[in-house]
Assembly symmetry: C2
Homo-oligomer: 225 residues x 2
């Protein structure tokens, strides 16, 4: 059974902004579940590479997928170390000082070695998790993958054992001197929140007349909550 | 003078989804200017690390900043290779098949060796660029950095010479077989757009009565356009 707290390793220990570090595993899950895409980093030929990709979480496993022809997936699949980051930007923090400007955010970072799934049932289950994350309801609604499609899809599993969560929220942290009216005390300061909502669904041009937008699309909850 | 097209190196050549690759330098600028935060990747102790951070662009230079105490900045500053990605998620693509589900996005990736700025005027100019990007208007409105604050801030410059842009837009790309009514032709397919807007500004609790929200905050254009 996995521990309920995030027990940091040297590289997952947050040194800067310790007050922003969270140690509850539930907060890791919350950030990963609220995000939509992640950034996957790995080393190729000695150089760092970072690529955006979809993902899904099941318990303490993060799944990412991609074409079996993708260089990024091949590298990550070859037992190399990866680092995954999911960041949700929640707002811009306006301070009385340029130096104390900041952003409100929730960020989760995972370190580990990704394992490529090879067994059909395990791959299908992982793809269902990824689909449920990016497009909830589609796994049941859309056509399931053929054998060929499944063969073309590489699925990687990453254990969430080594992870860090960092969150900033609330008003600017000011230099007390700036609050004095003689300084910048009468300047405005605060937070401009970033809101995310789904727009109106845009039907595929090849859709026959009379096909209604299904409830799993029209009723989808707004993201990044 | 920098070339007007993105001339790819082996690692910035897009191999998967070539139809999504863009080669116009203006598209690189557009993606970087539309984003708000980036993911900065580097190698530390042989392992990949990716961290989210703010940035700004001036011509063919990308600036990132952070505390001089931050391990990520110190590593990147030490002449090590970095990779920066900015990804804007524009919508979820619902296909008739699970396999052809996708996302609409704009993504820019930059490879290079970051240079740490040491000269005061150059650092201030770069911080103005970063501030103008994250909080337009704040550089003129808020208190400027003190000598000590400037000393605490590391600023890195990354040349945009080696970069790649990938964009997906539009309806799902379907398997023609799925369009036949006997298959999934009567299933709904299309795009659920992701909209981003600024919410109502939240004033700092320590703000004296009667301080109006300045125009550069109330009038800020919605992000990710």
């Amino acid at each position: 059974m996995t521990q309920q707290t995030l027990s940091p390793t040297p590289r997952s220990t947050i040194r800067r902004g310790k007050d922003r570090a969270r140690t509850d595993r539930a907060e890791l899950y919350a950030v990963l579940d609220a995000g939509l895409i992640c950034q996957l980093a790995f080393v190729a030929g000695g150089s760092p590479i970072v690529v955006p990709t979809g993902y899904g979480r099941d318990g303490d496993t993060l799944y990412v997928h991609g074409s079996t022809g993708a260089a990024s997936l091949r590298t990550a699949a070859a037992g190399a170390e990866v680092c995954v980051n999911v960041t949700l930007l929640d707002g811009i923090v306006y301070s009385r000082a340029v130096f104390h400007h900041s952003v409100n955010y929730r960020s989760a970072t995972v370190h580990g070695v990704a394992r490529q799934l090879t067994e059909r049932a395990e791959k299908l289950a992982a793809l269902a998790v990824i689909t449920d994350h990016l497009a909830p309801g589609s796994w049941e609604y859309a056509r399931e993958p053929t054998k060929l499609e499944l063969a073309k899809t590489a699925v990687l599993a990453l254990d969430l054992g080594e992870a860090a969560v960092k969150i900033r929220s609330g008003p600017p942290g000011e230099d007390p001197d700036d609050l004095v009216p003689a300084r910048n005390g009468s300047a405005w300061a605060g937070v401009l929140p970033l809101r995310r909502t789904w727009g109106e669904p845009v039907a595929c041009p090849e859709l026959p007349d009379g096909v209604a937008v299904p409830a799993h699309v029209t009723g989808r909850a707004d993201p990044y909550r």
